[in-house]
């Protein structure tokens, strides 16, 4: 994939994440902070489908943006074809792993598996 496409994705995920993080934080502020962290209230959030979908999208956006940023930093620190391939695939793998783990939480909590 050309670097310009990757960076457009980086910028796009940034803008998307800003909006969704704002929604996520506002949800915490819709009640008293300590109440918003109570088990039943958190589970209720996951049961609310639009919010759960939003969390999923936020997870993807932040994982892609975060690990691409790390990839850029690591690529600048050291060069070489083997190292660069390792960093590129490693970043993709880390993104996938974090998305998978976070999605597991959203799915299981949303389906009431706990």
């Amino acid at each position: 994939m050309r670097e310009s496409i990757i960076m457009k994705i980086h910028y796009g995920t940034a803008l998307g994440a800003v909006a969704l993080v704002a929604v996520h934080i506002l949800m915490r502020m819709s009640q008293k902070f300590s109440d918003s962290l109570q088990y039943q209230n958190v589970i209720a959030n996951y049961h609310f489908l639009p919010y759960a979908l939003m969390l999923e999208v936020l997870l993807v956006l932040l994982s892609v943006h975060g690990f691409n940023g790390l990839r850029v930093i690591l690529l600048e620190l050291k060069q070489g074809s083997t190292y660069e391939r390792m960093i590129n695939y490693g970043s993709l793998a880390a993104m996938a792993a974090l998305i998978a783990y976070g999605s597991r939480t959203i799915l299981m909590a949303g389906m009431g598996v706990s």
């Binding site: 502020m29 962290l37 975060g66 940023g69 930093i73 976070g102 939480t105 706990s114």
Partner: protein, 144 residues
């Protein structure tokens, strides 16, 4: 015959926020906050995953995070997030050529048009917003 030693400054040079003005400082903070936020994201995904293990596991996690240290960390995360966002928007617009000035005839003392008051103002605004957000966040977290 030139020695092949690269004489690169290395991480010490890349991570040095001094010598070159506030724009270099903002670059350094943007990198630090980015790494910090990534670390927080990973921790947060792990922390919230305890919800699937039931109420007891969730409350045990809350005992770990709803502490003085946890709240201080969260306050720092709020500041990092706001600075990274605000400065990131400035950088993104700059990357598109917005706010970097127009080419012209350079005149002594050759002050760079791209390092203009708009860029500096945006950096200071980002820092101020981060500070305000941290203060508000702290009032919510510690005021509860």
């Amino acid at each position: 015959m030139a020695e092949r030693l690269s004489n690169r400054e290395g991480i010490k040079g890349m991570a040095n926020p001094t010598r070159y003005g506030i724009e270099r400082f903002a670059y350094w903070i943007q990198r630090l906050t980015g790494l910090g936020l990534l670390a927080y994201l990973i921790g947060h995904i792990y922390e919230t995953s305890t919800i699937v293990n039931g109420k007891i596991a969730w409350n045990q996690m809350l005992e770990l995070t709803q502490t003085l240290q946890g709240h201080i960390l969260l306050t720092l995360v709020i500041g990092m997030c706001v600075f990274h966002t605000a400065n990131g928007i400035r950088v993104m617009l700059g990357h598109g050529g917005i706010g970097v000035g127009k080419p012209g005839q350079p005149e002594y003392p050759y002050k760079a048009a791209s390092l203009n008051y708009k860029q500096r103002l945006c950096i200071w605004v980002s820092i101020a917003l981060a500070a305000l957000a941290m203060m508000y966040g702290a009032s919510v977290l510690f005021g509860d």
